[in-house]
Symmetry: C2
Subunit: 148 residues, 2 copies
């Protein structure tokens, strides 16, 4: 019988130390927890905050561009809207110009939630900012954009 083929432990350490995907997933989970904790008093998760903030526009956007902006699957956006609709913070209406599409907008109450969440975002983000040397944050954002 063929003996098991194994990956050497050194390779495991190399992958662990160099894998960009793993590094980004780790940071994503850590930052998500951080912002979720901070935003909890406002009743929002980090993802809900980003989504609702992206809906704060002069004109209600259709779903496609919003999903693209957040770099998420369209079906994920459909699902993410459900709890926000239930809470009455977001409305999803048929686009009169294209009846396949939907237009997303914040309700008055949704805007109020966002107003309460904004200072939390500001202070939390300022704290994160302080964790990295000056100027480094801009480059980090640029690099993350290149990966998106």
């Amino acid at each position: 019988m063929s003996n098991s083929i194994e990956i050497p432990f050194s390779t495991t350490l190399m992958v662990r130390d160099t894998c960009l995907c793993l590094h980004v997933q780790r940071a994503a989970r850590a930052l998500a927890r951080l912002f979720d904790d901070a935003l909890r008093p406002a009743g929002l998760t980090n993802g809900q905050f980003s989504l609702m903030m992206s809906l704060n526009r002069p004109e209600p956007p259709p779903m496609g561009p919003v999903a693209a902006l957040l770099a998420m699957d369209q079906t994920t956006l459909t699902a993410a809207l459900k709890p926000l609709q239930r809470k009455g913070w977001v409305t999803v209406m048929e686009n009169p110009r294209d009846r396949r599409g939907r237009l997303l907008s914040l309700t008055t109450e949704g805007k109020a939630v966002l107003v309460r969440a904004l200072p939390i975002w500001e202070s939390t983000h300022a704290m994160i900012d302080g964790k990295l040397p000056d100027g480094r944050v801009a480059r980090l954002r640029q690099d993350l954009l290149a990966l998106s």
Copy 2:
């Protein structure tokens, strides 16, 4: 009646452009899709690859350290192990030295899956690496670690 308080659109644009959490979540989703697509022929997702690779050690680790390494909640790890156990790629056994704990190890078949996945990871990671200017990747990893 009090008129609605709104966040100016300029603030929305500022948050969209500067929020590190959003940038990291975006990159995390994009990279996850990229690696998931590449690893699909091997039957693994990016997260399963990272998890199984982290189990490729001389001694089977308990769950706590593995969850910490991946920067994920312990309950998430419990859930993530389920499909891998079902497929017979990972075994979860009681720790004889501490009967509260579990020891995680790859099966022979699990190691074989990992062997098949490794070259996919290598080529995919090389492609990502090429997207960023030389030397920038190392700094990016360092910054992501600082956020974790």
